[in-house]
Amino acid sequence: MSDEPLTMLRSPLKLEYTYTAGEISTRFLRGFAEGKILGRRCPECDKVYVPPRGNCPICTSAMDREVELAHTGTITKFCIVNLPFAARNIEIPYVSASVLLDGADVSIFHLIQEIPYNEIRIGMRVEAVWEKPEHRIPGMESILYFRPNREPDVDVNLFEDAGA
């Protein structure tokens, strides 16, 4: 026990909760265990959402059409992470990016690897690198990361108005 006057106090906040995915998100999550990325298309807006929702967030139509998406996409924005993160044992700096999958109208957020962080750019084409089939789980972690697939960059103006 120290005799020094106290100046700081540990005061952790902890929240323990049960997350229940619901029917639509469950289908999305189970898709990863099978090596699939599943979205849904709005019958009115014709937009494809991934992760899928039961109803279109714009027009509220029931989105009853499931769409399997490509495992390739385009980086629409990214951030360079310089702070270590307890639950993620990755060498810093690393890059997390929004990836607009081919065929989707909104982007997903994932890790970019196999390229120096300072060479990553908006418009870069990437592909998913999957966990081995026997280690896949019903969750996005079954995609380990995205990496450049050497296709030419996409003109950023093409997806300027995407919900990306």
Partner: protein, 163 residues
């Protein structure tokens, strides 16, 4: 600052009724530290040493736990006063089912206690066994924690005098 998020692998929530829906236990934790400042820092330091200290205002009132500024004049306060480790319950609420982060893991009372020598009441817990053991106006005394690190949990709880 590190943020810790972890979760178990998703599993079927209730196979008998909803075989399709996944469910998982999640934990979100922020390991905050806060700086105490000169007044609460001294208050917690005194708890670690087994004393309870308040602060005297310009009007002569003793505030426990101490505040940094006089609630009437807004002037900074610095005259620390040791108060008693016993006092009177001025208000209470019985907790039948304690939550995991409550000070006691058996039924207890949240209480406002006006310690001897203090002019304000302090929030803490009383270990009374049952609700019938609680009454406004009852006298209680501190039960110190076995190990004190400097913090309000250095007081494990209060208990009825004579118990």
């Amino acid at each position: 600052m590190q943020t810790l998020v972890s979760f178990d692998f998703m599993s079927d929530a209730s196979p008998s009724t909803q075989p399709e829906v996944l469910s998982a236990q999640h934990v979100l934790e922020y390991p905050y530290k806060r700086s105490l400042g000169p007044v609460i820092g001294r208050f917690f330091t005194s708890l670690r040493e087994g004393r309870i200290e308040g602060v005297r205002t310009a009007a002569g009132r003793v505030i426990v736990p101490p505040t940094e500024y006089d609630p009437e004049t807004s002037e900074p306060l610095s005259e620390f006063v040791e108060v008693g480790t016993s006092g009177v319950v001025t208000s209470w609420a019985w907790v039948t089912n304690p939550r995991p982060n409550h000070p006691l893991q058996r039924p207890f009372a949240w209480v406002l206690i006006k310690l001897d020598g203090a002019d304000t009441a302090m929030l803490h817990a009383v270990d009374a066994g049952s609700e019938s053991g609680m009454a406004t106006g009852m006298r209680v005394r501190v039960r110190w924690a076995a190990e004190r690190e400097g913090g309000i949990k250095d007081i494990e709880c209060f208990e009825a005098e004579g118990s």
